[in-house]
């Protein structure tokens, strides 16, 4: 992704607002299709709201909401990411080489979030179509109220996986500490294995066998309010 002619933005020199505005320029893809951001030093709201087919390499750790509401762009974070990385992303790809803090991919509408480390609590919370692949573990309440999309966890999942789940599909290779309200294990079908294989391949997670995963989904008992389930709401 790094090329010799990438546009260089050094956040020790360039203000965040100016850099984000440059990413938002209507002709950004024509001017500089590849960007390299140096010295992010945990900056919040970096590369958020991008809507262009550009590649952004970030050399270091980022703060909250990096690549938030991303559309089309490929954002590669060569470090760890703070809360809400790729929140509400609609398309494109976001890669985190390190770990992601809580609410990674929150309410994501589409696109792919690949965390090569582990993700903390509420990974994929309220997901609405995004695909999230985590090489390591996820914390508690992953995919809470997940509506659509796919969460693949190659490691373990914490307490309350898939709590109050709608139609998001969850796959976990390791141990699940506990399932949340209305989340149940479901059979791993051939189509599920194909979905797993395709996403793992796209992320370059070679050597991970789709057959090793277990699938979880909604029991759909909360789809229509009933007093017998009041305690689960």
């Amino acid at each position: 992704m790094r090329t010799a002619d990438a546009a260089i933005a050094d956040l020790e020199v360039m203000p965040l607002r100016e850099l984000n505005a440059a990413f938002h320029a209507p002709d950004v893809a024509a001017i500089a299709p590849v960007w390299r951001v140096k010295n992010p030093h945990g900056a919040h709201a970096l590369a958020c709201g991008v809507d262009a087919p550009i590649a952004i390499d970030i050399d270091g750790h980022v703060g909250y909401y990096c690549a938030g509401m991303n559309q089309q762009a490929t954002v590669h974070i060569h470090g760890n990411a703070g809360t809400g990385v790729a929140e509400n992303m609609a398309s494109g790809t976001v890669i985190v080489d390190g770990d992601a803090s809580q609410s990674a991919g929150a309410s994501g509408l589409g696109g792919l979030l690949h965390v090569r480390g582990s993700a903390a609590a509420r990974c994929g919370i309220s997901m609405k179509g995004i695909d999230v692949v985590v090489r390591g573990d996820v914390g508690h309440l992953a995919a809470f109220m997940g509506q659509a999309g796919t969460l693949i966890v190659c490691g373990d999942a914490g307490e309350g996986l898939g709590d109050s789940l709608y139609e998001a599909r969850l796959f976990v290779r390791g141990r699940v500490a506990s399932l949340g309200a209305d989340c149940i294990e479901k059979p791993l079908r051939e189509g599920d294995r194909a979905t797993l294989a395709a996403l793992l391949e796209r992320c370059g997670e070679h050597g991970v066998d789709p057959a090793d995963f277990r699938r979880y989904g909604s029991a759909r008992r909360l789809y229509h309010f009933h007093v017998d389930h009041a305690g689960a709401y």
Partner: protein, 448 residues
């Protein structure tokens, strides 16, 4: 059988176990479910009716109604946004979702508000093309559910409102029943049609004021600092919530009192959680004054606004603008006695219909039923709303002029007195005919 006290005595009913309480106990015993409804708190609460404007006197002279100007324009969001909202009148339309309301109703709200130069607001479920097209100034809500939230609509919005809570249910989430979830509503929310849709009570990616500040930063960066950002809270701890929202970088704070609330939730929640609107304004103003941000961060107040008198009193207590929800629906045609036979068939009566969540609204407003929704003509309903907003504005101006104000925002607490001890304490104005403000006027934190 005669009572032990003798047949000469009439039966005595309990003030505690009154007719409504007894009926509710029977209903709960019969069904096993709690009651859900809309229309905000219906219990008697201290309200704007308990305040009076003093008008002019020897020491304060009035303005002539027919020739002396009384301005109504308000700018919202100039603190940080490069394109603030410019309202011709200080009365806006509160957030109500497409889903809860029909597309025709949303369009009518946009038409009416735009005709009067004011803003309308989306709701939980996103922005429809109709309301964007017919709203010259549209506030886009960012809610905990994030239903229908996307960057394209965010950029199309004229302002952004981060909803932390609402007057009907501070601290509560929501549920839109399946009968209101048709294919279009479902698609906008990325959920199957026909199922009950739960709305979370907390945002998925931030908790607390430190996070909120960063969330606001993100939204500003996404919109290149063009768009004003409001923070809306239900009235519960208005001093602290206003201070925290302002410190977090909000351009405007919206405080929604417990009389507000077109959103349906448990009756027990509506009637027992939150603060009356008049109790929420002064603490919010105090918070902004202490931060040196009063009139820099605008304060928008909602919850039970019905008349120009209510508007004038809210402004006098310190609001920069007000927002209306229930009154706007009534102006569109909700609870119209013309549909009395149909309200009766639903077990209620015009004026009391509050089952807005069930989708059977005879007026075609709080429904997704195509036949019912088609009853509402968006053009005619929009005109009714514009008329109503016009009357509210004229009434507000009339009262402001009588108090000698050349701008409605020049109304001030000194223009008010209270009719009851409770209202005096909550609004921090003197009891009428006295100089007594109950409570501790030196204590700014009226929300303790």
């Amino acid at each position: 059988m005669a009572s032990s006290r003798g047949s000469a005595l009439p039966p005595v009913f309990s003030a505690t176990f009154d007719e409504f309480s007894l009926a509710e106990i029977r209903r709960a015993a019969a069904t096993g479910v709690y009651d859900i409804r809309g229309m905000g708190a219906k219990r008697r609460l201290p309200h704007f009716d308990d305040l009076l404007l003093l008008g002019a006197s020897i020491s304060r002279y009035p303005l002539e109604g027919y020739r002396e100007k009384c301005d109504t324009r308000v700018t919202i969001g100039a603190r940080f946004a490069s394109k603030p909202i410019e309202l011709a009148i200080p009365i806006t339309i509160a957030g109500m979702s497409f889903g809860a309301l029909s597309a025709q109703a949303k369009e009518a709200l946009g038409r009416g508000a735009s005709a009067m130069g004011t803003s309308t607001t989306t709701g939980d479920g996103g922005m429809t093309a109709e309301e964007r097209r017919h709203s010259t100034q549209l506030v886009y809500q960012v809610l905990p559910s994030r239903y229908g939230l996307n960057a394209d609509d965010l950029r199309r919005a004229d302002a952004i409102e981060i909803v932390v809570g609402q007057g009907a249910k501070p601290g509560g989430g929501g549920m839109l029943l399946g009968q209101k979830i048709d294919e279009r509503v479902a698609a906008m929310r990325t959920l199957p049609a026909g199922i009950d849709q739960r709305s979370a009570c907390r945002h998925p990616d931030w908790t607390g004021p430190d996070d909120l500040a960063i969330k606001i930063l993100e939204l500003r960066e996404i919109t290149d600092w063009r768009t004003p950002i409001y923070v809306k809270v239900g009235a519960s701890r208005p001093y602290y919530d206003t201070a925290l929202a302002a410190k977090s970088g909000a351009d405007a704070v919206v405080i929604d009192g417990m009389q507000g609330g077109t959103a349906a939730t448990q009756t027990t929640f509506i009637e027992n959680v939150g603060l009356p609107t008049i109790a929420a304004i002064r603490p919010a103003v105090a918070a902004l004054e202490e931060l040196g941000l009063y009139r820099t961060v605008q304060l928008i107040v909602s919850g039970g606004i019905r008349s120009g008198a209510d508007v004038a009193k809210a402004l006098a207590l310190g609001a920069d603008a007000v927002s209306i929800g229930t009154a706007a629906l009534v102006a569109l045609g909700d609870n119209d006695p013309a549909y009395e036979a149909e309200y009766a068939a639903l077990g209620t009566t015009a004026g009391a219909y509050d089952a807005w969540h069930e989708g059977r609204d005879p007026a075609g407003i709080t429904t997704q039923d195509p036949e019912l929704a088609a009853r509402l003509d968006p053009v005619a309903a929009g005109k009714r709303l514009a008329n109503y907003l016009s009357v509210l504005t004229l009434e507000t101006q009339a009262l402001a002029r009588a108090c000698g104000k050349s701008h409605v925002n020049h109304l001030e607490p000194e223009d008010l007195v209270a009719l009851t001890v409770e209202a005096a304490a909550m609004a921090r104005v003197p009891l009428a005919g006295t100089d007594w403000i109950p409570g501790n006027p030196a204590m700014a934190r009226g929300d303790a």
